[in-house]
Symmetry: C2
Subunit: 283 residues, 2 copies
């Protein structure tokens, strides 16, 4: 596996591959790799000749009070994991090269980035859309693979890719879960043992709601109440939102759920103040 740490070298690598007729599938990550990331890489390897995984903790998508400084970073471990999963190239640029002095251009994703997680994290999806566009321009992929856990991220990127006429196929790969159902996330390492145990309720609540909806319950309010009561039971988790929305536009269904529906939640633990998100598609 090749490790590339400069933008120029990555552009050269990508350009040489393209000249040779190979297509690249990109897996953008912030590192702290887990089995979820490696499943995205496996998907990337299915769709293109060459897989590139980027590892970049993107300052532009963190708010001033968020966990940018403490976000887990371990390039040596990421490198070993990516290589063991058959990654062809790991791209790990520096923040100084990605956002040099005087940097001022951002991609505004519009209203789709201001709702759900965007409401609690102003500017987050602007940072996401910007760094993804930069990574696309640097690596020139034919396809890029994103995890379904970050449903709004994927919706924003799909919308931006269509709007900006990007020549990149956006692929969503399924959420990987621990044995008790908790969606894999680099932030799970923040959880206290008590929180970790309670966190299994998030997935449980989502699948309960999916099952109720598919069994005929279509009241948005009742479904949301069911989700919330299951998640907060146990006391170590507070809700940020539970919402039932159109899976593409992310527009909330006002009273009655239509099909298909994205059932999405964000919550925060009370001890370690960890923000956790998860979702299922129902109907």
């Amino acid at each position: 596996m090749k490790l590339i740490e400069s933008i120029t070298a990555m552009k050269e690598y990508s350009s040489a591959l393209k000249k040779g007729g190979s297509g690249i599938a990109l897996v953008p990550t912030m590192g702290a790799l887990h089995a979820g990331h490696l499943s995205l890489l496996a998907r990337a390897r299915e769709v293109c000749d060459v897989s590139v995984m980027s590892v970049f903790v993107n300052p532009a998508q963190f708010g001033p009070t968020e966990d940018f400084a403490k976000y887990p970073r371990d390039l040596e471990s990421d490198r070993a994991l990516a290589e063991s999963a058959g990654c062809d190239c790991l791209f790990a640029p520096s923040a100084a090269e990605m956002y040099p002095d005087g940097y001022c251009t951002y991609v505004d994703a519009g209203p789709i980035g201001d709702i759900l997680c965007g409401a609690a994290r102003p500017g987050h999806f602007r940072g996401v859309a910007t760094v993804v566009l930069k990574l696309f321009n640097i690596t020139a992929p034919a396809a890029a693979v994103f995890g379904a856990k970050d449903a709004q991220q994927t919706a924003v990127i799909k919308r931006a890719a269509a709007d900006l006429n990007l020549p990149v196929r956006i692929i969503t790969a399924p959420t990987l879960r621990d044995a008790d159902g908790l969606a894999m996330s680099s932030r799970n390492t923040y959880l206290t043992p008590g929180e970790r145990k309670q966190a299994a309720n998030i997935c449980k609540a989502l699948f309960e709601a999916k099952s109720l909806f598919e069994g005929g319950e279509c009241s948005v309010e009742r479904l949301k109440n069911t989700i919330t009561s299951t998640i907060i039971r146990g006391g170590l988790i507070e809700m940020e939102y539970a919402d039932i929305v159109d899976p593409v536009s992310l527009r909330p269904f006002p009273a009655n759920t239509e099909s298909p529906a994205l059932i999405a939640v964000a919550c925060r633990t009370t001890e370690s103040k960890t923000r956790l998100i998860d979702n299922v598609v129902a109907g």
Copy 2:
């Protein structure tokens, strides 16, 4: 010359050329072509095998009270002119295809788009940066040629191209002028005969200031006053701004001009309310 009016067809054309090893130089225009545009095309033909000129009156860069509706449009004339100038492909997409229902992604150029013309035209450079990025993604050019008359547009595009790591070389080509010095512009057709005569003062004022600066006058205030008094003499033109700024960052010099300096003006005629811009680089 090929005429392409759909995004899909343009992507196919560009993709086939790239596979064949040819590079594209793009000249983005809003049509109403004049000799200035054709000089950009000539430059494009020097730098790449294939020249593509886009003709698209971009709604996103016009303010609600601006001249979008009356902006001159004549595709048949543009087609003949482009073909006579050796253009390989004219790309003229529809607004409905460029900005379909639900469109919501924009490129925010940052502070460099909020000063000078951007101060009087809020959102203008956001619209410019967005459409240029879209045109780049559709035509995949190796180079793109912009006219020096639109100095801020070029500075914004260069900044955005660097920030977003676009694989496109941005080339500036000199302003073409009528015999009396008036910078060629599609909007000159709006001018009344009296305004047209007065408009020659704009260029005269700029070259006077350049000559004064290069002769040793470095007071920003005195240079601006000289420019303004020359332009408004005759009474059919009002100033929007006269400014002396760094040619790359567009930051104004506070008291004394440094070298090189971009001397830029925007003004408006009093009868036809035509907005005219021009600039020179001095030092």
